[in-house]
């Protein structure tokens, strides 16, 4: 009997022993000098998700896009929100009608297996993006850029053209010259979109040889970017090594970047606190907590995500009433929403095109023009006044609104906050309907909601990516809103790629028209807050391009 009673004693002994051991074990070196590069150029990071895919045709999420951006190169590369010539030797030759753009590739650019990167590789990559058999999920970027025939090739209802990728306006004149043709003059955002994975080259012989295995593992890929993917342990993490064959390898200071997959934020914060990772993105309660404990490590940036409510005026006749839409818009206190619920650099917005995202031909930010901080949403008192007018015009006393959103812990808080503010209008009640994402999309497209919480991230670096979706009948415009003046301005803006100033003014005007009519309720523009060790330099989270940019990051002595 006695012997059996002792297990608990044994356990406490083990615990006590390990306490002693740990006291001896934690002897990490910490010399405090900050000048000069550290010997060990290794960056350790945690990802919130595993890599879903590294096939550029299938990649649509931020993690995949980010890995491809760090390991592959396009004609351009985004750095600090500006594009720089990457595999292209420099600015292309542009024909007089601005419809033909000819790139010359850099000399000596190579794949990680030593073979040269050729113009034919670009053609193959672009063709594959437009081949339905390769199941592309993001090929509409080609149509959005106005590349010749892309919109016809990508339209499944166009039987004569669909999938005929050979007719896409791209041609290799020789192994180092790539010619791209357009339906209209080349749009100004074309050079930044070239940094996206969809526009990167692919090697036909490699893809064909790999067959079904292509991009399934680190050894089923070839690279031409700043890093190579040396290890990919599905579910647990991956490792990058500097790619010595990258043409600009001298600018890459990091030799190794380790990512571990950690889906739980508490765990990521704990890893940061125990120096296992060098940077951690913060959300929810961790923003305020870390601002207190690790104040000097905190960084904040505004990103280009815009969040808003769809207003369904197609099947809900009441919502056709402008005063009602204005009342809904004015009832929401955006500033307290972002401050109380986020406090992470997000800003309340009453605009469509975000701040700090694009500059016009005059070099000014889109939001640099009037109004800089968005349109006036109105006070709580004004909201009530609009609501009273709406009640009279509609002949109603009460109104119930179904508020559709995706599910997830954070949405519960956001939804009830917004519902609560709307219910301050006397007689208004809100029914929250949280659904898994797949069903959210379905209900949204079927107009089975009154208000729906949504967000938008840009496809290309141009205000148009936020605006053209609101034209009449656009599949993304799940509001039923239709405004002829707005449609005309957008159509003109799209046709004016040859006249950037006119185009820019069209877009400014279009936003004004939209914000007078409130087809949506803008809520906020999102921000990032993250903690970063002081020895990590030149690490950024840009508003367009890869989510993390560590192509030129370095580690100082510490």
């Amino acid at each position: 009997m006695k012997s059996k009673a002792k297990w608990s004693l044994v356990l406490s002994f083990v615990l006590a022993l390990s306490l002693v051991l740990s006291a001896c074990g934690s002897s990490s070196s910490s010399s405090k000098s900050t000048t000069g590069l550290a010997k060990d150029q290794t960056l350790n990071l945690a990802s919130t998700a595993d890599i879903p895919t590294l096939d550029p045709n299938l990649a649509t999420d931020t993690t995949s896009t980010n890995v491809i951006s760090m390991t592959e190169a396009g004609l351009t590369r985004m750095h600090n929100n500006k594009y720089a010539w990457d595999l292209a030797a420099g600015a292309p030759k542009i024909s007089a009608d601005k419809k033909t753009v000819t790139f010359t590739l850099r000399k000596g650019i190579k794949w990680s297996d030593g073979k040269p990167v050729t113009a034919q590789d670009f053609v193959y990559g672009w063709h594959r993006q437009n081949d339905p058999a390769a199941k592309p999920a993001y090929n509409f970027l080609f149509a959005a850029s106005g590349i010749k025939n892309a919109s016809k090739i990508e339209d499944p209802t166009n039987k004569a053209w669909y999938g005929k990728y050979n007719k896409l306006g791209v041609k290799a004149l020789n192994s180092t010259t790539l010619q791209v043709t357009f339906d209209a003059p080349v749009p100004p955002f074309f050079y930044s979109i070239l940094s996206q994975p969809q526009f990167m080259p692919l090697r036909a012989d490699f893809v064909k040889k790999q067959g079904k295995n292509f991009a399934q593992g680190a050894s089923n890929l070839i690279f031409n970017g700043p890093f190579v993917l040396s290890k990919w342990n599905k579910g647990s993490g991956w490792t990058y090594k500097k790619n010595p064959k990258y043409w600009n390898a001298k600018a890459t200071k990091l030799t190794t970047v380790n990512f571990q997959v950690q889906t739980d934020i508490a765990t990521r914060v704990n890893l940061y606190k125990t120096n296992k990772i060098d940077m951690v993105g913060l959300t929810g309660d961790y923003v305020n907590a870390m601002k207190k404990t690790n104040a000097s490590d905190i960084h904040t940036a505004l990103n280009s995500g815009t969040f808003f409510l769809y207003i369904n005026q197609k099947t809900n006749k009441n919502l056709k009433n402008l005063n009602l839409r204005k009342a809904i818009n004015a009832a929401i206190d955006r500033e307290s929403f972002v401050k109380v619920l986020f406090n992470d650099g997000s800003v309340g917005s009453n605009y469509v095109v975000p701040k700090g995202f694009t500059k016009g031909p005059d070099g000014k930010d889109f939001r640099g023009a009037d109004p800089v901080n968005g349109y006036s949403a109105g006070s709580a008192a004004q909201a009530k006044a609009y609501w009273n007018k709406a009640k009279k015009e509609l002949g109603i006393k009460k109104l119930n609104l179904t508020f559709l959103s995706s599910d997830g812990a954070q949405y519960k808080q956001w939804d009830s906050y917004l519902a609560n503010q709307l219910e301050k209008l006397p007689g208004v009640t809100v029914t929250i309907n949280q659904q898994p994402w797949a069903n959210y999309l379905k209900l949204n497209q079927e107009f089975k909601f009154d208000l729906a919480f949504s967000g938008w991230f840009p496809d290309y670096q141009d205000p148009m990516t936020y605006l053209d979706m609101w034209t009449t009948g656009n599949p993304q415009n799940t509001t039923g809103w239709s405004n002829k003046k707005f449609d005309a301005l957008i159509n003109d803006g799209k046709a004016q790629t040859g006249n950037p100033t006119k185009r820019w003014n069209d877009m400014l005007q279009a936003e004004k028209v939209m914000m007078a009519d409130y087809p949506i309720v803008p809520i906020y523009q999102s921000g990032y807050t993250w903690a970063q060790k002081s020895y990590v330099k030149d690490f950024s989270m840009p508003s367009y391009g890869p989510q993390y940019d560590f192509a030129q990051t370095y580690i100082t002595k510490h």
């Binding site: 096939d55 299938l58 991009a215 579910g235 739980d264 765990t267």
Partner: protein, 308 residues
Amino acid sequence: MGRYVLKRIGFMIVTFFVVVTLTFIAMKMLPGTPFLNPKLDPTQRQALMHEYGLDQPLAIQYVKYIWELLQGNMGTSFQYGNEEVTTLLFQKFPVSMNLGFEAIIIGAILGTLLGIFAGLHRGKFLDWGSMIFSMLGISIPSFIFAGILQYFLGVAIPLFPVAGWEGASSHVLPVASLAVGVLAEVAIFMRTEMVEVLNQDYIVTAKAKGLSKNAVVFKHAVRNALIPVVTILGPLTAAIITGSLVIEDIFGIPGIGDQYVKSIVTNDYPMIMGTTELYAALFILTIFIVDLLYGVIDPRIRVSGGHN
């Protein structure tokens, strides 16, 4: 016995296919498509549905699926760039099994010991202490333990890695978090059984025969008390292996738990089917093994099939 086993295997196969069929039907009733990028417009989504053969009638999709399944082909995952489901399962499932079994074995052994200990000291301070500990173990969810252990033994006193699944030391915290519940449940069960068995006449007889206390406890009491405990181990194993999701999440363990839930919310059909099939097979097999184990522990239960 042989005939019994064969019959059971037959039933197991039927059960398995019923599960497969029901899952297939239920899964196809989920709203939405696997193509969840909000930027795809309905015609593009339809084109992708066509490329993947998801626009065909349900019956045809089912027959095709079963035909492929019989050849050992589970299809490719939508979430993971067309990677084979079998490859993904082979990578992730063993990790979850490993975590689950470590927790079950440690929890069951310690729980049994604690239960015996409490049962023998019935009504005394040590009994109350063990049972309060066990009640806490059952009522507090494993992720609370995980959070506490991670903070105190990973961050405040960094004895063990905060997260990860490499090397024995990384197993300590997740396995301990999961094992507490098993330990507590087994301990309470074992204690009740011990108390009951110790009051039986045959124990009095054994004592009267002059057997040593150890012999009475281990040969007679514990062996008999174990039978009901084995019964709960079956469902407990299934619950632990399927329920380790949160623990895998907290400790960044590349198991299947998180994957399963994500498959369902993203309509990753082949992955939902593959994971369900694996769990179903495992569950059916566990029940079978537990039934066979009864016979080993208690000769009275040994199934004779009626006539042999």
